[in-house]
């Protein structure tokens, strides 16, 4: 499986595909460019990624450090809270998708529309379909998949990565200190 085969190889069908984020600097630039970012965290962030920590640990540390508002989908809210991040909203992924596709929507915290979303922790198929919905319904929104599996429907996606590689890329891009917050 190549690095930019969809995480589930059968999940093809897009005539444009996500720009692959090969280097931490690219992701760091996306973070920097985002004026109204939103981090979307699903329940599968509650898996042990690399041998050292849960995926959600890194995401929470970044959200805390950079004060990124967080939408917790599924039942991810309590786990985020436990890591010191109060989600701006607990909201179902579908609900959130529909709102992001509405240019009138004032954003997760009513502070204005988002220009970039970072997304991780949904099951592959759900993230794929949601990103498809956003690509078609929210054409001006930049979507960045942080999952360690290539998501062709995102604007930018990480390639297929091992957890270890994933951890090091994200840690560097988000400028997280080793060892946690």
């Amino acid at each position: 499986m190549s690095r930019i085969t969809p995480g589930q190889p059968a999940m093809l069908g897009g005539t444009r595909t996500a720009t692959v984020i090969e280097k931490p600097a690219v992701l760091a630039a996306l973070v920097k460019r985002a004026k109204r970012p939103l981090l979307v965290v699903g329940h599968r962030a509650l898996v042990v990624g690399s041998d050292r920590e849960y995926v959600i640990d890194l995401l929470a540390r970044w959200a805390q450090k950079d004060s990124v508002p967080v939408a917790a989908t599924g039942d991810t809210g309590p786990a985020l809270r436990a890591r010191g991040v109060e989600p701006a909203r607990c909201i179902s992924a579908m609900n959130l998708g529909q709102r992001l596709a509405d240019p009138q929507w004032a954003g997760i915290d009513r502070a204005g529309p988002h220009d970039v979303i970072f997304i991780a922790g949904l099951s592959y198929a759900l993230e794929w379909t949601l990103l498809s919905g956003l690509r078609h319904g929210a054409a001006s929104l930049v979507t960045v998949s942080l999952s360690p599996a290539y998501e062709p429907h995102a604007s930018f996606s990480l390639p297929n990565l091992s957890w270890t590689d994933w951890r090091s890329l994200v840690t560097e891009a988000f400028a997280l200190e080793e060892g946690g917050a």
């Binding site: 499986m1 085969t5 995480g7 589930q8 190889p9 059968a10 069908g13 897009g14 005539t15 444009r16 699903g42 329940h43 917790a72 989908t73 599924g74 039942d75 809210g77 309590p78 809270r81 909203r89 607990c90 909201i91 179902s92 992924a93 579908m94 609900n95 998708g97 529909q98 709102r99 596709a101 509405d102 929507w105 949904l122 099951s123 592959y124 198929a125 759900l126 379909t129 949601l130 498809s132 919905g133 690509r135 078609h136 319904g137 054409a139």
Partner: protein, 770 residues
């Protein structure tokens, strides 16, 4: 209508299969029943378009295309992304809705075709005038869907043919609308999807009422028997027949043949999918193995001596799988011939010899009675036993794994199969064994593996669970008396809701989630219904005391009951119960009065459908039938692949203004129910959503407070805090659960909440109200 005089003399035909007499005119049946015809008997596909557009104006499609392309005609492929239109001018949004319509047509056609096959067979078997009796003395309103949609009260099997002719014609019109260069408006496509769904429930009702009546299934029986379910219930010392599918006549004929020849108890008749449930409705001696996901696993166990397949949800590679173990196959359906020679007209002895000797891998027999005889006589001449690889082999076979991840990438359940294989090669097969619990048994991992490792087979071999469970067999419709008893509490909101767990087994995390949700809502004294594969999944899990939900909860349609209505076609009884509430409890006229009754159900009956593993086109059609009645449906995460959700916007107040039937004024009712169709990510989220979707504008304060307390509780369990949208559901202080009143009031005040009136709501236009 007057002066119709139809007499039919004796019919004799020189042909083996003659097309049946069909006499249809407006009213069918004896005509003694009198109810004024409503505005839309036998509605065409635009007759209810206005109602649909009201619903769809509130619940707007959120499209998540599975593909940027359309490949339906030779202009294609067309790239519809980025606002581009196809060569026919279609947009991506319309294309998604078109494909949903196509799926709904396939689903509804499948039920309608199945219903016709049943009705034609039963007419031949039991006679044209065989009376319909789905509920014995307990059910007066036999066919709420047929009455609501067609304005008819069929009385005999033959009466059902006219209903099915109507269903056929509607579905053909709908299918025609999917042709290149027909409909192009997404909302018109969605309206047609709802029409297909409505037709689907009519057809399902026809199918189940016909088979209940003619096969003498439990008739609205609260005490339907507990029957065995699970691999562990099979006595492998006996000859074992496996039936798979949805059309019960061949299986029933097997049971009848055994009974007629004094062979009961000597042959195990086991089943997968809906035929399995329906067999147990015919005879409690039949055994259910499990839902659709058990096909590969059970065949590969080597236990069945013979496989009999009918139609729907049958693995299409079953003949190959069976052939690998030398298991003979009998195909029984015109819809699923498996490429086998049609030997319906040959002598049974010849067929039996060919099957037993292995001269042919299988035969096609389009006569249930002959299937009954051949199946039993083949099975009793048992085939040599085979076995699954022992666990030691699993470890050896896993050693070939190169950890490439192809299996994982192919797994719809997104299992970390690489991890499982790595554990196995180092001697620990328990990881694979655990994964089997949420494996849908699709076999894609095996085809994907470049090393040719049979991953699913190794998982099965790693797992030596062989349990015995119990399921309450399908009881059929809800009794009129049950409706009379709980119609009021449901409409007033005092029973917090009716939750139906239906549909297929395409779970991401396994069927145990369904069992957990069923248990949770039954404990909370919702009325819980189950059907089809979901009914089976529920049975396959025990609580701490070792009881399955069917053993733990009653089978009554009551608060805290867990009601298995039956196979997939029995889903019509769940929606039918909602219609019955409008009729029996609220005395609405049903006859051809769809929009008014749907408006009633939508505003007053707190019902929610849950298709946690919805996979099929049938499931799409079933869901659409619920939607048109205003009943929301929650699906599991794979349900997002149905290409679009129908979502309300709780944050847009204008969307939730309705007309108060009393005052005629526009009033805010809150986002109840918030969505018509939504995929949930986890079962915790699903439960919070279900509790919320059970709220209805018409809830009394007492009812609303009960519903709110469940919502608040399940919300807290999922999100660890007070609902963000609490204020939208509280109309007056009396709506607040007593125990938390003070605390909640503080929250509400902080959000600037003000009291508002409780209306008598309707979505119908003024002129539609009488």
């Amino acid at each position: 209508m007057k002066g119709i005089d139809i007499r039919i003399g004796e019919i004799a035909s020189p042909l083996g299969r003659v097309r049946d007499l069909r006499v249809g005119i407006g009213r069918i049946g004896s005509g003694t029943w009198e109810e004024p015809a409503g505005p839309t008997p036998y509605p065409s596909m635009t007759a209810l378009r206005d109602w649909d557009r009201r619903l769809l104006g509130r619940y707007r499609p959120f499209y998540m295309p599975l593909c940027d392309l359309c490949c339906l005609c030779t202009y294609g492929k067309c790239d519809l992304s980025g606002g581009k239109r196809g060569a026919c001018g279609i947009t991506l949004a319309a294309q998604q809705s078109r494909v949903v319509l196509l799926a709904a047509c396939i689903g509804a056609a499948t039920h309608t075709s199945h219903a016709r096959e049943l009705v034609e067979y039963l007419v031949e078997r039991n006679g044209r005038t065989f009376p319909l009796d789905p509920g014995g003395l307990q059910v007066d309103l036999h066919m709420p869907h047929v009455e609501l949609v067609c304005g008819e009260r069929p009385e005999t099997l033959a009466d059902l043919e006219t209903i099915l002719d109507y269903c056929n014609a509607q579905l053909i019109d709908l299918l025609a609308a999917t042709h290149t260069g027909q409909e192009g408006d997404p909302i018109d496509f969605e309206s047609k999807v709802l029409h297909a769904g409505m037709i689907d429930h009519v057809s399902m009702e026809v199918a189940d009422v016909a088979q209940i009546s003619a096969f003498d299934f439990p008739k609205a029986d609260q005490g339907a028997l507990l029957v065995p379910l699970g691999l562990g219930t099979v006595d492998t010392e006996r000859p074992v027949i496996l039936v798979i599918g949805h059309n019960v006549p061949p299986a029933a004929a097997i049971l009848d043949y055994l009974a007629d020849h004094g062979l009961e108890g000597t042959v195990e008749v086991t089943g997968i999918c809906c035929t399995a449930i329906d067999m147990t409705r015919r005879s409690p001696s039949a055994k259910i193995i499990g839902p659709i996901s058990w096909q590969l696993r059970y065949i590969r166990s080597g236990i069945p001596d013979l496989v009999v397949v009918d139609e729907q949800c049958v693995r299409t590679d079953l003949l190959d799988e069976a052939a690998r173990l030398g298991i003979p196959v009998i195909a029984t359906s015109e819809k699923n011939c498996l490429g086998l020679a049609d030997r319906t007209d040959e002598l049974s002895d010849a067929l039996i010899e060919d099957l037993v000797s292995g001269r042919v891998p299988g035969v096609l027999i389009l006569d249930p009675e002959k299937v009954g005889e051949v199946a039993v006589r083949v099975a009793v001449r048992r085939r040599p036993e085979r076995a699954v690889p022992p666990v030691a082999d699993v470890i050896a076979l896993a050693a070939a794994c190169g950890a490439c991840g192809a299996c994982k990438g192919a797994c719809p359940s997104e299992k970390d199969l690489v991890g499982g294989m790595q554990a196995a090669r180092s001697g620990d097969t328990s990881v694979l064994a655990r994964m089997l619990r949420s494996c849908v048994g699709c076999g894609r991992c095996e085809d994907a593996c470049p090393q040719g490792i049979e991953v699913h087979r190794l998982m099965v071999a790693s797992c030596d669970e062989c349990e015995r469970f119990a399921i309450r067999t399908g009881r059929g419709p809800v009794q009129d008396i049950e409706i009379r008893e709980i119609g009021g509490p449901i409409v007033l909101g005092e029973i917090p809701g009716v939750v139906a767990f239906v549909g297929c087994a395409n779970y991401l995390e396994g069927g145990s989630e369904v069992a957990e949700m069923v248990t949770e809502f039954a404990k909370r004294r919702f009325v819980v219904c189950t059907s089809g594969c979901s009914a089976m999944a529920v049975a396959m899990h025990r609580d701490e005391e070792g009881l399955t939900p069917y053993e733990r909860f009653s089978g009554r349609f009551e608060a805290g009951g867990v009601v298995n209505v039956g196979s997939c076609v029995a889903n019509s009884h769940i929606s039918g119960a909602a219609i019955k509430i409008a009729s029996i409890f609220a005395k609405r006229s049903l006859s051809g009065n769809y929009a008014e009754v749907a408006d009633y159900v939508y505003n007053r009956v707190g019902a929610v459908g849950v298709a946690w593993g919805a996979m099929s086109q049938k499931a799409a059609a079933i869901a659409a039938g619920f939607w048109r009645l205003g009943i929301p449906v929650v699906v599991g995460p794979h349900g997002a692949k149905y290409r679009r959700m129908l979502l309300g916007r709780s944050d847009v107040d204008e969307d939730w203004m309705v007309r108060d039937r009393r005052s005629g004024e526009e009033v805010y009712v809150g986002p109840v129910p918030e969505h018509l169709f939504i995929a949930a990510e986890t079962k915790e989220e699903a439960m919070a959503i279900i509790a919320k979707l059970a709220m209805r504008p018409n809830d009394t304060s007492r009812g609303r407070s009960i519903k709110l307390s469940h919502y608040i509780d399940l919300y807290d369990r999922c999100y660890g805090r007070m609902p963000d949208d609490l204020h939208r559901f509280v109309r007056t202080k009396a709506d607040l659960p007593l125990m938390q009143k003070e605390e909640l009031l503080k929250v509400l005040e902080a959000r600037g909440w003000v009291e508002r009136a409780i209306p008598d709501p309707t979505l119908l236009p003024e002129e539609a109200l009488r």
